[in-house]
C-alpha cells in the first residue's frame, strides 16, 4: 500500500518523458532563460564599460579658428572630426545616427569677436533623445574648461590672479554605486529563475489531472483500490520531479554563465561555489514541490487541457507577483521575505550571490514555507478528488 504512490509516480513520469512537446518546452526554458539573463547582463556591462573607455566622438566645424580648444579636447580623449561646413539638416541627420555625441560649430565671426574680447559664439548641437548624455556632459566640461582657461589667461595679462574667477570650488560626490543602481534589475532577474519552476511543472500538472479527465480515464483510475491521497501524491511527485530537474539544469547553466561574465563591471558579484549552488538547488526542491502541488490543485478543476491552460496562464502570475514587485520596492532584506515561496528563494539567492552569511533561519523558513504551502495544496487536491461533486464531474 505504501508504494502505491510510487506506482503512480513511475507511470506519470514515463508518460511525461514520452511527451516530446512538453520535454521540448522544458529544454527550451532551461536554455532560454539563462540566455535572456546573459543577454541582459551583457548589455548592461557593455553600456557601463563603454562609457569609461571608449572615445567620445564629436564633429567640429570651423576648427582652424580654435587650435587651443582642439588640443584640450584631444587631451580629454575626445575624438574630433573636423568639417568645413554643414547645413542644419546635415547636422540633424548626423546626430540622429547616435554615433557622434555632438557637433561643435564655431561661428565665422569667432576670431573677430575673440580678438575684440567680445563673447565669441560656439554652438553645441546635440540630440537629447540619444543615450549619449553623459558623454555630452564631458564635452560641455571641456568647453567650460576652455572658457576658464582663456579667461584666466586674459586676466593674467592684466595682472589679475585667475583665482578671482573661482570664488567657489564645487566638488561633486555621487553616492550611488553601480551596484545599487543595478540591484533592482538583477533582483528581478534572479527572481525569474524561480518563476520558471511554475512553467516546468505546468505541462505535467495539467496532463495528469485535466488531461486525465479529458481522456476519460479518471473514473477508472478512481475506481482502483488506491486512496485519493496516493493518486494525488503520485502525480504530485512526478510533476515536481520534472520541475526539480528543470530548475537544477537551469540554475547550473545560469551559474556557469554568471561565473564567466565580468559582473564586477556592473558592481554585481556571483560569489557562488558549486557546493553553494547545490545547496541553492536543494533549497528550491520544496519550491518545486509547492509549484507542482499548487498547479495540480488548480488544474484538476479544469475539465479539459485547454481549460487548464487558460486557468494556468492567469494562476502563474500569482507567484510571479512578489518576485517582480518586491525588488521594485527596493526594500532592505528582511526576515519576513523568507516566509513567502518564490520571494524567499529569490532573496536567498541574492544574499548568497552577494557573498553574505545568511544564517540558518532564512534557509529554514525558505524550505518550510514552501513545504507548508505544498502540503496544503496536496491536502486540498486529495480532499477534492475524494468529494462526490468532483466524482460526478469526471
Amino acid at each position: 500500500m505504501s508504494a502505491k504512490f510510487l506506482v503512480v509516480t513511475r507511470k506519470e513520469l514515463r508518460e511525461a518523458l514520452r511527451d516530446r512537446r512538453a520535454l521540448g518546452v522544458l529544454l527550451l526554458m532551461v536554455v532560454l532563460y539563462p540566455l535572456i539573463l546573459w543577454f541582459a547582463l551583457h548589455k548592461m556591462i557593455d553600456i557601463s564599460t563603454k562609457a569609461e573607455h571608449e572615445n567620445i566622438k564629436i564633429v567640429v566645424i570651423g576648427a582652424p579658428q580654435v587650435p587651443t580648444l582642439l588640443n584640450l579636447l584631444q587631451q580629454k580623449n575626445v575624438k574630433v572630426t573636423t568639417r568645413s561646413d554643414m547645413t542644419d539638416a546635415e547636422i540633424t541627420e548626423l546626430l540622429r545616427q547616435h554615433d557622434y555625441v555632438g557637433v561643435v560649430k564655431i561661428s565665422d565671426k569667432f576670431t573677430d569677436n575673440y580678438v575684440a574680447m567680445r563673447p565669441a559664439r560656439i554652438e553645441l548641437w546635440f540630440d537629447s533623445a540619444s543615450d549619449l548624455q553623459s558623454k555630452l556632459r564631458r564635452v560641455e566640461s571641456v568647453l567650460h574648461g576652455y572658457n576658464n582657461t582663456v579667461a584666466g589667461a586674459r586676466l593674467l595679462a592684466h595682472g589679475v590672479s585667475p583665482a578671482v574667477l573661482a570664488p567657489i570650488q564645487l566638488q561633486y560626490y555621487d553616492t550611488a554605486t553601480n551596484a545599487s543602481r543595478s540591484v533592482q534589475f538583477i533582483g528581478a532577474l534572479l527572481g525569474m529563475f524561480f518563476v520558471t519552476t511554475f512553467i516546468f511543472c505546468m505541462n505535467t500538472a495539467m496532463d495528469t489531472t485535466a488531461g486525465e479527465r479529458e481522456r476519460r480515464s479518471l473514473e477508472v483510475l478512481l475506481a482502483q483500490p488506491v486512496r485519493p491521497f496516493a493518486l494525488i501524491s503520485g502525480k504530485w511527485l512526478a510533476t515536481a520531479a520534472l520541475a526539480v530537474v528543470g530548475l537544477a539544469l537551469e540554475l547550473t547553466v545560469a551559474h556557469f554563465i554568471l561565473k564567466w561574465m565580468p559582473l564586477e563591471e556592473i558592481g554585481m558579484s556571483w560569489r557562488v561555489s558549486l557546493p553553494m549552488l547545490f545547496g541553492m538547488i536543494a533549497c528550491a526542491i520544496p519550491l518545486c514541490l509547492f509549484a507542482a502541488a499548487f498547479e495540480i490543485a488548480l488544474a484538476m478543476n479544469a475539465k479539459t487541457f485547454k481549460e487548464a491552460q487558460t486557468m494556468m496562464s492567469f494562476a502563474i502570475l500569482l507567484p510571479m507577483l512578489p518576485a517582480i514587485i518586491v525588488p521594485m520596492l527596493d526594500l532592505n532584506t528582511a526576515t519576513w521575505m523568507y516566509a513567502f515561496p518564490v520571494l524567499s528563494n529569490q532573496t536567498l539567492l541574492m544574499e548568497v550571490a552577494k557573498g553574505q552569511a545568511v544564517g540558518v533561519l532564512p534557509y529554514l523558513l525558505t524550505v518550510c514555507s514552501s513545504l507548508l504551502a505544498a502540503g496544503l495544496a496536496v491536502g486540498f487536491a486529495s480532499w477534492r478528488l475524494h468529494s462526490e461533486k468532483y466524482v460526478l464531474g469526471v
Partner: protein, 244 residues
C-alpha cells in the same frame, strides 16, 4: 455475491436512486436494464464506492464499499462507459500499471497478461502505444485492464458498445468463461439480444427504482409478453425512457 438493499441517492433535488434492491449471485451474469437516466451509472458508482449512498445497504461479499472502498474494489473489475487510455503508453504498460495498483506482483502480472492476451486475442496490440487505437481495440485494452487482477465481481457498463461482430463474440465467450469460473457479473446494457443470449438474471430499473428482477423468461412470463424488449417497455411503464 452482490447484495443491494433499498439504496437511495439524491443529488441536490434530483432523486437519482429511490430505493433499489436486488442481489446478483456468483456464477451468474446479471443484466442491468433501464432507460437512459434510470440511475444505472449512479448505481455502479455506488457499488465501487465512488459515491456515498444516502440510505440502504450494499454488500460485496460482505464488504461495504462505502466504509471499506479499498478492500471492496480489490474484488471488483469495473469497466466504465468511457474507455479512456493513456496514449503514450503501450497496452502492456497499461496492464502493468493497473496490475500494480491492484497490489499484484510482477510475476503475477506477467502471467495474467499472457492470460488476458490469449483470452481477448490481442497479441497484435499488446506492445503498441494506444494512440490511434480503434474503438474495438480500446475496448479490448479496457476490458483486459478490468480482468487483469481476477476480480470476483465484474461491473460492466455497456461493454459491447462500438465493438464489431468478431469482438462482440470474443467478449461473449470471455464472459461465459468468467461466469463458469464463478464470477459475479453485472452488465448494464441496452442490447436486448445480448440480455437474452448472455444473462441469467435481469434487473429492470426505472426512475431510480427496481421494477423487476428475474430471468428473461420469468420477465416475459410475468408481463405476459413474448418478446423481452416489449416486456421491458411494459415494465418501465412507457416508451418515454427509450426515446429520451
Amino acid at each position: 455475491m452482490i447484495r443491494v438493499d433499498s439504496v437511495r441517492k439524491q443529488f441536490g433535488t434530483v432523486q437519482a436512486l429511490a430505493g433499489v434492491s436486488f442481489s446478483a449471485s456468483d456464477g451468474k451474469t446479471t443484466a442491468l436494464l433501464g432507460p437512459n437516466g434510470a440511475g444505472k451509472t449512479t448505481l455502479l458508482r455506488l457499488l465501487v464506492g465512488l459515491l456515498q449512498r444516502d440510505h440502504g445497504s450494499i454488500s460485496i461479499d460482505g464488504l461495504d464499499p462505502a466504509s471499506d472502498p479499498i478492500q471492496a474494489r480489490k474484488t471488483i473489475g469495473f469497466l466504465t462507459d468511457q474507455f479512456g487510455l493513456y496514449e503514450r503508453l503501450t497496452t502492456r504498460e497499461h496492464l502493468i500499471y493497473f496490475g500494480e495498483l491492484n497490489d499484484m506482483g510482477p510475476q503475477e502480472i506477467g502471467q495474467r497478461i499472457c492470460d488476458v492476451v490469449a483470452l481477448l486475442a490481442m497479441d497484435d496490440i499488446i506492445d503498441r502505444r494506444t494512440k490511434g487505437f480503434s474503438q474495438g481495440q480500446r475496448v479490448k485494452v479496457a476490458l483486459a485492464r478490468t480482468l487483469l487482477h481476477r476480480p470476483r465481481h465484474l461491473l460492466l457498463d455497456e461493454p459491447t458498445r462500438g465493438l464489431d461482430v468478431m469482438s462482440t463474440r470474443a467478449l461473449r465467450r470471455t464472459l461465459a468463461t468468467l461466469r463458469e469460473d464463478g464470477c459475479c457479473i453485472i452488465m448494464a446494457t441496452h442490447v436486448m439480444q445480448e440480455v437474452s443470449h448472455l444473462c441469467d438474471d435481469v434487473i429492470v430499473i426505472a426512475k431510480g427504482q427496481t421494477v423487476a428482477q428475474g430471468s428473461p423468461a420469468e420477465l416475459c412470463e410475468r408481463t405476459g409478453i413474448a418478446s423481452l424488449e416489449d416486456a421491458f417497455v411494459s415494465l418501465v411503464g412507457s416508451d418515454e425512457g427509450i426515446s429520451a
